[in-house]
Amino acid sequence: MFKKQYMYVLFIALILLLAACSNESSETEEGNDTTTETENESEESVSEETASDVEQVIKIANDQEPAGLDPHKTPAASSIRVYSKIYEGLVTFDENMEVEGQLAESWEQPDDTTYLFNLIEGVQFHNGREMTAEDVKYSFERILDEETASHIASYFAGIESIEVLGDYQVQFKLAEPDATFLSNLTHSGAVIVPQEVVEENGDLQQVAVGTGPFVFEEWVPDNSVTLTKNENYYLDGIPKLNRIEYYTMLEEASRLSAIRTGEIDMTTVNAQSAELLSGQEGVEIKDYQSLEYSYVGFNVEHEILSDVKVRQALSLATNRQEIVDIAWKGEGLVTGPIAPSMADWSIDVEAHELYSNDVDKAKELLAEAGYADGFDITITTASSYPDMVDTAQLLQQQWKEIGVNAEIQQVEWGEYIDIWSNTSADILVGRNGSGSDPDRAMNYFFHTEGSANVWNFSSDEYDTLVEEARRTIDLDARKEIYVEAQNLLLELSPNLFMVSPKNYVAVRDSVVDYVPYAHSTEDLDEVFKK
């Protein structure tokens, strides 16, 4: 009997709860409708107003959650787009990939191994303290300190000493002439950070105090990052926006729907989505040629692939234009070892013999190598990148023509990185960034000692060339060496260089003066909303 009473209480409670909730949900649905209407109305009225009345807030959908905010420790693109608004380096690239000053007003080079930077006076960190030469020294020492485990330490390994010559003057001494030094300084990680903030917090993963146009306000994990205008920025009239709000939206469909309805103002999209969005009212698609390129990497110690003729045969059997047309919807450029957007550094590969897709010649080479009947091999690629999977499948078909039977192995990203770093695949389809200096694409990926030369590739002739290029300060002479080195690399084919894709950004038409370019894909300094 006692229990029965409990039962009734429980039952009534449940019914009350149900009743309460059914009201709630119907109310919210009504609420939904009204908010939609008001939003639409406000949108319409906004477009009629003048720029000055518009709230200067831009909402950007980030396709990945930032992986921390420390510029010296975090190479993730989702992090870079946030911290590059907060921090600044000594120099940067302009849209023509020419080095220009940022925190450094000017610089001179008394001799081949010495760089002297004159800093802009009166620049303040967001905590109010003035940025001086001591901060520059501290920042680079932090990057080079092994304890920091910085991803960009290798870029600056050639620094012998850093000397503060005055509050606004700092001198870098290099161990040997290094033509890459200035362009390496433009790296998104090579920025100036305040020592006291690092010491107070251990690192800069959760906090961000720089000198840049935007001030870090808040990071809500898996949700949003908010930046606000730096009112004390040293350049007049910059930035124009009051706030940047980044929202983490992993799903492409959600980002598409949000840009369509104007819930967000800007998002990167893939080629397919760019096509879907073209013609959508209120949305503009901006594209630019990226610094990235896709490649086919060979383990050159593999029994079959160690023969350069086999690798050349595979290069000849590859129809790169077909890969551009299918995997990249026709929007992308066939590339050599240095991506075409690296202005004058890259070579024209169209005319190169190994790019001619000559199947007969490929068969000939294969026969010479002793594989007249072809062979079986595995291509490994990352399942999370559709373009890589498409590329692998196209290669599988194309190589069949010369009797090469490739099996495709798709792996998850974490495993892929593991396979890449251990060279535990025969053939890997992947994507590289050309970096800010050709040295990256050449020396770092293919020199015998290069940290990212995971291919076991080694050529004395090649090593000598890229070492020489690194030391050659004269621009024209340096370019010549790289032309030679690139041709040699194509000849030896430790990798097949495939396609440099375009990147796409979908932007609401209320966003003014946004121009993405390869080195700075999201420069918002001059951007405002109308």
Partner: protein, 314 residues
């Protein structure tokens, strides 16, 4: 009853121990290196080594496990390897999102499923019954992610509407919160409803065919009384079981729905952590999810006893 609950809670210990060992080992067996994932292709071998040392990954396995566990026992789940953020507070804040989503979805599911299941059982083999059965089958078999994507597309293309971006908590802004939550909750609710509907129908049907129902009807009881006072009460046990399992699973995070609707819930946390090989976060969250799952099922077992007086725990 009391001793039963105590015993069940004590049983949590070996279960959680098992889960902790399992997830600890799995995270170390699967390929992928957290240091390499963090530093990317630019990393030098020295930097990689330094990071592994910082994370204590160079220590022997049993020491790593011991270090982790001694933290967990004092409710210190450690820090994220990626962001250095403390893990437990993060888990708890994610859990509130997941909890709210589960609650609303479950309510939507029950409001639809239980009445429809009862009606279908009462009108067995009628058109209504067939209708309900088809709807429930659709609910069970139509994948969440497809329904979610379709709803998003239709709302955007036809009604020019998309849910507001940026999650806000219920107590910060209840209306915006519900506006964000309602669509994912409908998506989850409908798929939950399918299973509950089927279970309600078959379970009520079975009871309705039993002798005591005939006796009650013979007494001249009204159909309303037969259904609500006698049949439903008896049919509740299997329904409750399935609800318990569903709620338990949902509380572990609705990975796909959370991802599609950008909700910062538990599922999203675990998924990101797995992709980034953030061992500590994965271990901590999985342990927490296991704890919640076992707890929900314990609650359901206790509820049984209230609903069916014949069940007693000794």
């Amino acid at each position: 009853m009391f001793t039963y609950v105590i015993r069940r809670i004590l049983m949590l210990v070996p279960v959680l121990f098992g889960v902790s060992v399992l997830i600890f080992l799995v995270m170390r067996i699967i390929p992928g290196d957290v240091a390499q994932t963090i530093l990317g292709t630019d990393a030098t071998p020295e930097a990689l080594q330094q990071l592994r040392e910082d994370f204590g990954l160079n220590l022997p396995l049993h020491i790593q496990y011991f270090n982790w566990m001694s933290g967990v026992l004092t409710l210190d789940f450690g820090e994220s390897m990626r962001t250095g953020k403390e893990i437990l507070p993060d888990i708890l804040s994610r859990f509130t999102v997941t909890f709210e989503l589960t609650l609303i979805s479950a309510l939507i599911a029950w409001i639809i499923a239980i009445p429809m299941g009862i009606i279908a059982a009462m009108k067995r083999n009628s058109n209504t019954d067939f209708g309900v059965r088809i709807v429930s089958l659709l609910g069970v078999s139509f994948p969440n992610f497809a329904l979610a994507t379709i709803i998003i597309l239709v709302l955007a293309l036809v009604f020019s509407y998309s849910p507001p971006v940026g999650y806000v908590g219920f107590f910060e802004d209840p209306f915006k919160n519900l506006e964000i939550m309602i669509i994912p909750a409908i998506v989850m609710g409908t798929s939950m409803a399918g299973a509950v509907m089927r279970m309600t129908r078959s379970s009520v049907l079975e009871i309705l065919m039993q002798d005591f129902i005939r006796t009650i009807r013979a007494k001249g009881a009204k159909e309303r009384v037969v259904i609500f006072q006698h049949a439903l009460k008896n049919a509740m046990i299997p329904i409750l079981t399935i609800i318990g399992l569903q709620v338990g699973t949902l509380l572990g995070g609705a990975v796909i729905v959370e991802q599609i609707f950008s909700l910062p819930g538990l599922g999203q946390l675990v998924l990101t952590a797995i992709n980034q090989r953030d061992f500590m976060v994965v271990q901590g969250s999985v342990l927490f999810i296991a704890f919640i799952f076992v707890l929900v099922n314990l609650l359901i077992d206790i509820l049984y006893a209230y609903i069916d007086p014949r069940i007693s725990y000794k």
